[in-house]
Chain length 214, copies 2
DNA sequence: CTATTTCCAGTACGACGTACGATAATTGCG
DNA sequence: CGCAATTATCGTACGTCGTACTGGAAATAG
């Protein structure tokens, strides 16, 4: 049994090395040569374990999806969905490349399916039709990705942008924006951490409530 | 005045050519050489008009943002936000590369600012604090991008995925997913077009309502 | 042992973004 | 007019990417 030369590495090793690089240096730093170097292999050897780079990214997504600790299902959809969103957010913050890599990915692998399963379980008490449940899950995922992307971009809007905005506002024709800036300038600092729970809570509660009442 | 050799093209020509390519063949097909070929220039000539490719994508985003017909402000936030979301959706469907290009972009240029202005105007009657208004606008944009991405991916889940899902479900351990599939299989066909208005309406109404009541 | 199977990895190709530098076109000054 | 100064054009070239190809290395089956 097991004829031929035995593999020197495993698919998981390759995927984990890619994830490690992406976590620290970003998705753009993940190249086949770089991965090979990290695990001590020739660049072309990777193609024994992975068909191509695109598929590798799919595998990366699915693998980190398997690292989330499953959230407990209490039976209260609001609590459970919020917990699910929170665990997703934690995942995306631990792997900042994830929000960017997520769109346009075929959800290959079981881990993405177990995420769906959890979402469906959380929404079970609502009694909504299955397609609506799936839509709500997709929307929540998108919301979390949007939020985390904004979060990771940092609240510092870069000096060049401040200049641009100030200039445009001074040029006139944007009264509400000018008012918002003025209000923001004299307002308090950033509200801090609980922003996510607040916004996600609003969206989840609002979305499900509306869905139930229609 | 205007010393030196006169430019043979304009920045707008370059950006428009890039948009034209992206619309038809996707963002990946937008290369400097390809753009140059389309407008009849040498590849390096483009750098007279654009500092680098990354900036070019910024310009593409801002330029298509200027093509949206401004939505009328009725004073009813629900109607106005829904119209704004609808116009964004139309824009993203006309330029399918937009949802993918949008994240991680500095919002350079006035067109993005006028979009913000419109959102703020729509939210004006709510009397919410300015930062909350901006958060809501960002969330709605993210929602539209998520929805359109899903829309453009097509409702056909590709045979390989169907096989994967079926297999995983048959393996057990995913009861809610199995139930959802069963329910979906015997259910009616796709609800069709009004999906967007329905989902966006739920989210917008729910989000703003929740924000107002807290 | 030999044959077979499997994996390893060097070389190489085409495409990418773009730095560099020679060349061309235009204006201002004499 | 000619001649510098200025600005745009674009061919060439470099380093990097994904990956096709290929010959060699390491294991098992007989």
């Amino acid at each position: 049994m097991a004829r031929g030369r035995p593999p020197a590495h495993t698919r998981e090793q390759v995927v984990d090395a890619a994830i490690g690089i992406a976590d620290v240096e970003g998705l753009a730093a993940v190249t086949m040569r770089r991965i090979a170097q990290d695990i001590g292999a020739g660049a072309m050897s990777l193609y024994t374990y992975v068909p191509d780079k695109d598929h590798l990214v799919d595998l990366m997504v699915d693998r980190v999806g398997g690292t989330v600790t499953p959230v407990p299902i209490t039976g209260d959809w609001r609590t459970d969905l919020l917990a699910l969103a929170g665990s997703q957010r934690a995942l995306m913050r631990a792997h900042p490349w994830l929000p960017a890599a997520l769109p346009n990915r075929r959800l290959i692998g079981r881990n993405m399916l177990t995420y769906l399963e959890q979402g469906l379980a959380a929404l079970d008490p609502t009694g909504l039709p299955a397609p609506v449940k799936l839509e709500i899950i997709a929307l929540i995922t998108g919301l979390v990705a949007t939020f985390v992307t904004a979060e990771l971009a940092g609240s510092a809007p870069a000096p060049e942008q401040v200049a641009l905005i100030g200039e445009a506002v001074a040029g006139g024709g944007l009264p509400h924006l000018a008012a918002a800036l003025a209000e923001g300038a004299q307002g308090s600092g950033p509200p801090g951490e609980p922003d996510f729970d607040r916004l996600a809570g609003w969206t989840i509660t609002g979305l499900v409530t509306q869905a139930l009442s229609s």
